[in-house]
């Protein structure tokens, strides 16, 4: 049966997308004092976690892809290597987000951790293909650990957010 979007659902998705783009842009301005390239907190993933929980996996995928596209256009990185890395990371992260959510084994913490690690792996694969160098693999262990740490943080924030917006019917 074809899914019907209500005005409320569309409004919720639009606000979610705007918040995700805003978090992505704010995050790009935050300096994390670690000498490893590409380390980010992954705050925009909080929105994907909330959307998959409140609405569904297709909508979370749409929000994630649109966030990467629009965010890169607004930041002027569209079409460049940073865009393709974000896209690759976003696709793998979204696949793991959906798979772990549908498995019903994990709470928000597990889903968020595995999704964040998926983002790291997607970016590593893309960087190896785009630049033809295995040099970034040196950073893989630390990026995996930092990905897991950021996954715990975003999972915690998503969990709190969901508790606080549970009365919102969408």
């Amino acid at each position: 049966m074809k899914k019907q979007f209500t005005t409320k659902t569309l409004s919720f998705l639009s606000i979610s997308l705007a918040v995700a783009i805003l978090l992505q842009i704010i995050e790009s301005m935050v300096d994390i004092p670690i000498p490893v390239p590409g380390v980010k907190l992954g705050l925009a993933n909080i929105v994907a976690l909330v959307v998959i929980f409140k609405i569904g996996s297709i909508e979370a995928t749409i929000v994630n892809i649109l966030r990467i596209l629009l965010g890169s256009i607004l930041r002027g990185t569209f079409g460049g290597p940073a865009f393709y890395l974000a896209l690759a990371g976003g696709i793998v992260a979204t696949i793991l987000l959906i798979a772990t959510y549908k498995s019903k084994l994990f709470t928000m913490f597990g889903i968020s951790i595995l999704s964040a690690v998926g983002h790291v792996i997607g970016q590593m694969v893309a960087i190896t293909i785009i630049f033809g160098t295995l040099g970034m693999l040196y950073y893989l262990p630390i990026l995996l650990l930092l990905g897991a740490a950021s996954g715990i943080l975003t999972g915690y924030i998503a969990s709190i957010t969901l508790k606080n917006i549970r009365k919102l019917r969408v």
Binding site: G80, F109, I113, G132, A148
Partner: protein
């Protein structure tokens, strides 16, 4: 509005599956840390290659003092006006660049073949090559 059992489970404290996943990631990271240098055949390189937008700019002797200046006139995709790469005594590093938060120059100095300086905002990659047979040790460029 009451939460369903599934919703309560999803926003509950970490369960066993979460802890197993986290432990597995930590173990994989530590194993990768240990085994990756063996797989990537870590060794001191004799030369390094500078690439801009996937095109080789040139190869240089890593043991010699080199200062490579890439300017926006010749390399238009550079984020700022110029990017300076330096090498000395087997190490290569990005001395000066313009990028958001200066993340490229924070990568420090590298001296082994398993590492690379990847500067996405400037489309620049610096990688260290293995020893070249028959190299006379002179600066290549």
């Amino acid at each position: 509005m009451q939460l369903t059992a599934k919703e309560r489970y999803m926003i509950s404290k970490p369960v066993k599956a979460d802890k197993i996943a986290l432990t597995a990631i930590i173990v994989i990271a530590l194993l990768t840390w240990f085994f990756l240098p063996l797989i990537l055949n870590t060794k001191q390189g004799s030369t390094f290659t500078v690439r801009y937008d996937n095109q080789v700019v040139d190869k240089y002797d890593i043991n010699k003092e080199n200062t490579i200046i890439l300017t926006k006139d010749k390399y238009p995709k550079l984020y700022g006006d110029e990017l300076i790469i330096k090498s000395l005594n087997g190490y290569v590093w990005i001395e000066k660049e313009t990028s958001p938060l200066n993340e490229c120059s924070k990568m420090g100095k590298i001296n082994t073949t398993n590492r690379a300086l990847v500067c996405l905002p400037n489309y620049v990659v610096v990688s260290i090559d293995g020893p070249i047979k028959g190299s006379d040790g002179e600066t290549l460029a």
